[in-house]
C-alpha cells in the first residue's frame, strides 16, 4: 500500500472535470414534433420487440378470456387502435410495415448473433453509415489490415470496431470471448457488395459457438433508445400524443421473423415482468426515460404492443381496450401523420 484511495480518487475526479470543461456543448436543438412522433413509434416498437423474444421463447398463451383474439388472416396484419385513449391524447399518425426501400434511412445495420452452451454470446454487426473516418474509440489496434478500436464496458463486454470500407463500419462484440478470439472472427469475415452489409459471411467461429439469429437490414431508430428497428416484416404502428408531444402512446402489431427474435431479445435485454392482458400472458417493461410497454401474442405469430410515456396504468388500460381499426379509421390516422417514419432521426 503506497497511497490513499480517497486522495487518488479526488485527483482523478479533478482531472476528469478539467477534461470535461474543455468540451464545447453542442447548441441545443429541440427535436421537432414530427420527429418526436417518429422516434416514439420506433422506440416503442423496438422496446417491445425485445420482449417479444421472451414471449416467443418461454411463454404460453392463456385463452380463458371471452374476447376473441384478433387474428392475422389472409388480409394481412390487423391494425389495432385503443378505445381507452389517455386524457388529452389524440391520434398523430401511423405507419405500415414493411417500409418501402426508398424510405429507409441512411443508417442501417445487419446483426448476426452467435452463442454457445454456456450462455456466451458473440455479435457481428455491419453498420452502414455515411461516416468518413472513425476516430477516438477506445484503444487502437489493427484488424484486417485496417485501424481498429477496442472498448470494454463495465459489465465486461468488449467491442471491436473498424471501418471496413467507406460507409461501412463493422462491430464485433462479446462478453465471454477474449480479444484474440474476437479478432479471429473479424479476420474471417467476408464482405459482399451489399452496401448495408447484408451479405457479410462469418467464416470463423470460436469452438462451441453456433448461429442464434440474425437481424437483416434493420433501421437505426431515434434518440430515445439508440437501437435498431426491423422494418422488413409486416405490421402497423399508430401514434397518439398530446398537444406538446411530451405524452405519447404507441400501439403496434408486428410479425417478427423467427430468426430476428433472439437478436432483438439480446439487443434489449428487457427487464420484463409478467402480466395478463386481454387474457393473454404478457410481459411489460419500463425503459429508461419512463417508457412503459407491454407486449403479448394476440394470435399465433401476431404480437401486439402498447407503449408510451403516459404511465403504466394508462398503457395497460389502452392495451385492454384494443380493437381492429376499420379501413376508414386507419386511413384517417395515416393521413394525419404522413410525415411519420420509423427511421426518422432527431
Amino acid at each position: 500500500m503506497t497511497a490513499d484511495l480517497d486522495t487518488r480518487a479526488r485527483a482523478a475526479a479533478a482531472g476528469l472535470h478539467r477534461a470535461a470543461d474543455d468540451l464545447e456543448p453542442p447548441e441545443w436543438e429541440p427535436p421537432s414534433n414530427r420527429r418526436r412522433t417518429g422516434a416514439r413509434l420506433a422506440v416503442a416498437a423496438v422496446a417491445v420487440a425485445g420482449i417479444v423474444a421472451v414471449v416467443v421463447v418461454g411463454r404460453a398463451v392463456v385463452t380463458d378470456d371471452p374476447r376473441q383474439p384478433v387474428a392475422s388472416g389472409s388480409g394481412g396484419v390487423p391494425a389495432l387502435i385503443p378505445d381507452a385513449l389517455p386524457d388529452g391524447l389524440a391520434a398523430a399518425g401511423a405507419v405500415d410495415l414493411p417500409r418501402p426501400e426508398e424510405e429507409l434511412g441512411p443508417e442501417r445495420m445487419t446483426v448476426r448473433l452467435f452463442g454457445d452452451a454456456t450462455g456466451g454470446a458473440l455479435s457481428v454487426t455491419v453498420f452502414h453509415s455515411e461516416a468518413a473516418e472513425p476516430a477516438d474509440f477506445g484503444e487502437s489496434t489493427t484488424v484486417r489490415g485496417k485501424p481498429a478500436w477496442v472498448s470494454e464496458d463495465d459489465a465486461g463486454q468488449t467491442a471491436l470496431m473498424w471501418q471496413e470500407a467507406p460507409g461501412i463500419l463493422a462491430l464485433v462484440t462479446s462478453g465471454s470471448l477474449d480479444l484474440a478470439a474476437m479478432s479471429s472472427v473479424a479476420e474471417g469475415l467476408t464482405f459482399g457488395t451489399d452496401p448495408a452489409g447484408g451479405d457479410v459471411t462469418v467464416t470463423v467461429l470460436p469452438p462451441g459457438f453456433a448461429p442464434m439469429g440474425a437481424l437483416h437490414d434493420a433501421a437505426l431508430t431515434g434518440a430515445i433508445l439508440p437501437s435498431a428497428l426491423p422494418v422488413t416484416t409486416g405490421g402497423h404502428l399508430a401514434g397518439f400524443r398530446d398537444a406538446t408531444g411530451n405524452r405519447a402512446l404507441v400501439v403496434g402489431t408486428i410479425t417478427p421473423e423467427p430468426d430476428e427474435v433472439p437478436v432483438l431479445r439480446w439487443m434489449l435485454g428487457a427487464d420484463a415482468g409478467e402480466i395478463t392482458v386481454r387474457g393473454h400472458q404478457a410481459l411489460r417493461t419500463t425503459q429508461a426515460g419512463g417508457i412503459d410497454a407491454v407486449i403479448w401474442e394476440e394470435s399465433p405469430g401476431l404480437y401486439a404492443v402498447v407503449g408510451g410515456t403516459v404511465g403504466a396504468d394508462a398503457v395497460l388500460a389502452a392495451a385492454e381496450s384494443l380493437r381492429p381499426a376499420t379501413e376508414q379509421e386507419w386511413a384517417a390516422i395515416v393521413a394525419l401523420g404522413d410525415e411519420v417514419s420509423p427511421t426518422d432521426h432527431p
Binding site: A3, D4, D6, A11, T125
Partner: protein, 170 residues
C-alpha cells in the same frame, strides 16, 4: 399545456448548458469513451426534453439525467449502438473531443469500470460528484443502506485493485 412548455424551455436550456459537461464526465467515468459519453448525455437530454413537463418539475432533474446515463451505460447493446453513432458523428464532423491524456488517471477510471455496474455507479457519484449517500440513493432510486453497502464494497475492491490504502471511515 403549450404555454407551460414555452415557459419551461429557458429552464431546460439553462439546465442543458449547466449540466452537459458534468453529465459527459459522469458518462465517461462509466463507459470509458468520450464519444459514447457525449452520445449518452445527448440521449439523456433528449429524453428529458420529451418529458420535460413531468420531470422538469422534479426537485432535481439533473439526478434523473444521471439515472438515464447510468442505465444506458450498463446496457451492452445500447452502449455499442451509442459508440457506433458516436463514431459516425466523429467521422463526419471531425470535431475534437476531450483528450484522454487530459483526463489523466485512466487507470483509476478503468478500475471503477471493472466493478459490478451498481457499485461503479455509486462510487462514481461519490468520488466524481461528491454526492452524499442520500443524494446517491435518490439519483439511483435505491435505499441509502444499499448505497452504503455498495460504496463499502466498491472502495475495498478499488483499494485492492489499485494497491491503495483505504480509510474505512471515508
Amino acid at each position: 399545456v403549450q404555454p407551460v412548455i414555452e415557459a419551461a424551455a429557458p429552464a431546460f436550456v439553462d439546465l442543458y448548458r449547466r449540466e452537459y459537461r458534468p453529465l459527459v464526465a459522469f458518462g465517461y467515468a462509466l463507459c470509458g469513451s468520450w464519444g459514447s459519453a457525449e452520445e449518452l448525455a445527448q440521449e439523456a437530454f433528449v429524453a428529458l426534453f420529451r418529458d420535460w413537463d413531468r420531470i422538469g418539475g422534479y426537485h432535481a432533474p439533473e439526478g434523473w439525467l444521471r439515472r438515464v446515463v447510468a442505465n444506458r451505460a450498463t446496457s451492452r447493446w445500447r452502449r455499442a449502438a451509442s459508440e457506433a453513432r458516436a463514431l459516425a458523428r466523429l467521422g463526419g464532423r471531425r470535431e475534437p473531443v476531450a483528450d484522454d491524456a487530459t483526463a489523466a488517471d485512466t487507470e483509476f477510471w478503468a478500475a471503477i469500470r471493472s466493478l459490478p455496474p451498481r457499485q461503479s455507479q455509486v462510487v462514481v457519484l461519490h468520488y466524481l460528484e461528491d454526492r452524499p449517500v442520500e443524494d446517491i440513493a435518490a439519483v439511483l432510486d435505491i435505499a441509502s443502506g444499499t448505497v452504503k453497502a455498495h460504496l463499502h464494497r466498491a472502495r475495498a475492491a478499488l483499494a485492492a485493485k489499485l494497491e491503495l490504502e483505504v480509510d474505512d471511515d471515508g
